[in-house]
């Protein structure tokens, strides 16, 4: 049932990131211009061109979970552990009492990417079956001796749907459950889907999230081959420079962001704290000119929210920090806001935490919700010299107050998948 009166609001947040593993530390880090990008310490990166990442140095999922839930962690790769730890934070933050809600109307919609394998888990099998010729494995041996030395539940640690599954199990969330896999934009598409599910009246409350760790030797090796990663290893915190003309490329990271998105009446009835309203969503594709798809996404989202270009305070951009993507994004945003009284302003938190794959968009959405709640906009880090081919005004230097009630969030992939959402300050 399409029901436009069923509006979504954000009533809980959880963030795990390289600049903070609780909401306050994360928010203070954003405002203080802290960077979590550092030399990789989880493994020896010396043979990689890019040796830096937004790594979470002390992450231990056990610190987040209740004792009874901890034994499940052994069937979860680091990415999935990030998801369940963050989900616990978000639930605690939302003050939802699970005994007081209808759990069949409690959904989980996540963004996720390829879950990186932990190499030692198949190393014994590989060693038994390695043939002298490079790149050859003896499959006859693998089928017998190899299989004997791999843990029975090995595959479950790496299925992309396991983030949302494990979260649903820990929180008894029996409503719609989905995992969307569009990289940087996955979490924003998940938000759009959650809004639709709420409008069709199949849920009152959804966890919209994402989690990913790319700080993994296999992930980093693979991605070093095809992503334009920064090699600015000497000065990690200055490497990722969105919209800056001296940008050096992409820097990966790890983390999780989760938003509790709730139907407004449901939220009010339980006396929930409301961080922000979610008023519009749009998505589009363009395989050659992402600017076109970003522009259309923004226009659709703003039309749905009934917002004009002059109502928007700023755009929280993806801000990849690569030449091609920054230019597409800036052009798309500028086109969507053509005709506004003042040039549209843009900020991004990528330089603080890095590119988090399937969790980028929801960590960034959490920063939008915090901006709307606290009335402050974090500045873009490492923005010193404007790039003339990025026709937007970038908020830099120090945070500034929020002046207007609406923020637009954009995310996209270099493949052309784009989305935008409109969030609004909640006036009590």
């Amino acid at each position: 049932m399409v029901n436009d009166s069923r509006r979504g609001v954000v009533t809980g947040l959880g963030v795990l990131s390289s600049i903070g593993s609780d909401l306050d530390t994360f928010w203070q880090g954003l405002l203080a211009g802290k960077s979590g990008i550092k030399r990789i310490g989880l493994f020896d990166p010396s043979e990689l061109p890019c040796q830096i990442a937004g790594e979470m140095t002390d992450f231990d999922a056990k610190n987040f979970l209740e004792k009874k839930d901890r034994k499940q962690l052994r069937v979860m790769a680091r990415t999935i552990q990030l998801a369940v730890a963050c989900a616990q934070s978000a639930i605690t933050n939302s003050k939802v009492e699970k005994s007081a809600i209808n759990l069949t109307r409690f959904g989980v919609i996540f963004g996720a990417g390829m879950v990186a394998m932990e190499l030692p888990e198949t190393a014994d099998a590989a060693a038994v079956c390695q043939m002298p010729e490079r790149g050859k494995i003896d499959l006859k041996l693998w089928g017998t001796k190899g299989l004997e030395v791999i843990q029975p539940l090995w595959m479950l640690r790496y299925l992309p749907n396991m983030l949302a599954c494990q979260v649903s199990i820990l929180h008894d969330a029996q409503g719609p459950n989905n995992t969307i896999t569009q990289d940087d934009v996955a979490g924003l598409l998940a938000l759009g889907e959650a809004l639709r599910i709420m409008r069709r009246d199949h849920a009152d409350l959804l966890m919209v999230g994402g989690a990913e760790s790319r700080v993994n030797p296999l992930s980093m090796t693979r991605q070093s081959l095809f992503l334009p990663l920064s090699t600015h290893n000497a000065d990690p915190s200055k490497a990722l420079r969105p919209f800056d003309s001296a940008r050096t490329g992409l820097v990966l990271g790890e983390g999780s962001g989760i938003l509790l998105v709730e139907e407004i009446g449901h939220a009010k009835k339980r006396g929930a704290e409301i961080y922000a309203e979610v008023n519009g969503f749009g998505a589009a594709f363009n395989g050659t000119d992402q600017a076109d798809a970003i522009e259309r996404s923004i226009r659709i989202a703003m039309a749905q929210a009934g917002v004009s270009v002059d109502d928007v305070d700023h755009v929280n951009a993806s801000g990849m920090g690569t030449d091609k993507e920054d230019r597409f994004e800036a052009r798309g945003i500028a086109a969507a806001f053509k005709g506004s009284k003042d040039p549209i302003e843009v900020t991004t938190i990528k330089a603080h935490v890095g590119h988090l794959g399937g969790s980028s968009a929801t960590v960034e959405l959490a920063s939008v919700a915090l901006s709307l709640r606290h009335g402050v906009v974090p500045a873009t880090l490492n923005y010193n010299s404007p790039d003339a081919s990025c026709p937007v005004r970038v908020i830099s230097g120090s945070p500034r107050p929020l002046r207007k009630p609406f923020v637009v969030k954009t995310s996209f992939t270099s493949a052309g998948q784009c989305a935008a959402a409109v969030l609004r300050r909640h006036d009590v």
């Binding site: 049932m1 399409v2 029901n3 020896d44 990166p45 043979e47 990689l48 069937v75 209808n102 069949t104 390829m114 394998m117 190499l119 030692p120 190393a123 014994d124 590989a126 490079r134 790149g135 050859k136 494995i137 499959l139 089928g143 299989l147 791999i150 029975p152 539940l153 090995w154 595959m155 479950l156 299925l159 992309p160 749907n161 494990q166 649903s168 199990i169 929180h171 969330a173 029996q174 459950n177 969307i180 569009q182 996955a186 639709r196 069709r200 009246d201 980093m220 090796t221 070093s224 081959l225 095809f226 449901h266 589009a284 594709f285 259309r296 992939t413 493949a415 052309g416 998948q417 989305a419």
Partner: protein, 461 residues
Amino acid sequence: MSDREQDSGGFRDGTRKSLKRQASMSRKYQRRIVITGMGVVTPLGDDIDTMFKALLEGRSGVGPIRNFDASTFPTNFAAEVHGFQLSSWIKDCSRWEHSGINSKFAAAAAKQALANSGLIEGMNSGKVDRNRFGVYLGSGEGIHDFHNLMWETANSYDPSTRKFDYAKFCKGGRESFHVGSEADQELHTTAMHLAAYFGLNGPNFNCLTACAASSQAIGEAMDLIRIGDCDMVLAGGSHSMIHPLGVTGFNLLTALSTNKANPQGASRPFDKERDGFVLGEGAGMLVLEELEHAKKRGANILAELTGYFSTADAFRVTDSHPEGRGAIACIDGALKDAGVTPSQIGYVNAHGTSTQVNDRVESLAVKHVFGEAAKHVPVSSIKSMMGHLIAAAGAVELITCVEAMRTGWLPPTINYEHPDPECDLDYIPNKARQSKALHCLSNSFGFGGQNTSLVVSAFTG
């Protein structure tokens, strides 16, 4: 309606809210969704007619695994697609040069579906708005370069000390991995290729919910049209897990049949002697379209997609809920979404994997929701013939439902020999049956507890 009213209140005391919701339930959806194109790549044929004929003949597509040397694996058989060439569907397929098989299967099935829909001409002439044409896939994960990955792993590892040399791995991997095929393993690439090649510039999604993925993709695609975000969506899925790590993973979980003595009899859904599922591979794609949009261009309407619901078991990663709570809510929700009663359902295309637990719980759930009507409703699992296409299974099964309605023939469950007292429905044993179905239910239940049910109906104007 009264059941719905009772179980839908967010709060137990929300009487007024429930009444309000009931009022909104009685409004019909304004936008109806029809199917105007379909395409498949399956172990039983890579076009719909060949596949459906094989299904009605009760043929098995299972044989020894040829994709790699599986001779010593606990399971050495599967239902594979043989002789597949993307170039026989798409002349210039250079953009898929380094793609994995998931992406290639998807492209071939998508080409069939789009050609079948008659929309390609309209897109080329500008009569069809590409910006209102989305993509929502449930296509499987990329396939690792097994040999190079494991060789470099072994080369970086000292079994005697159990020390792993990560720097050595990074160096070796960078030398031996292929740039193009590594890039194409990323999970957003299959949907990107289809949108870029065919010029589908609306919203672009891919979801992964294991064995429910393509059904869930179709359901959410339907919702994109209902809500007005799109007028057309290319929806479906593609998948192959018939590769060394796929078979390794499922064998370790003991989920696959190991009936090496009789591979073609190994997939035996609902039969008492079932011992696990058989892997299949392939793709199924559908063009979903808003009814008025389809009518206006004089499209050939194949069926109407009328119901969708999804739930989570939220129970365990390895088992379904023993009382089928997620499956029951899911089937029930889809029937209500479609506005049909159980007795109106003329065919159930079961998830029917041939594992002990799935088939028992699915039978239980159908009986629970259908009540008296469960005694009469024909149910079958085509996984008995083409194995389990994992993420792609739901799309191919929905297409099978459409063909069943169009031809008046229901495909059988083959290898059904030993009745199981816990599975006591009419499974259309071994022989196709002539029967007119106006509404069909298709179930997909994913590993990890995601459940999706779809209802498809004969289009009656």
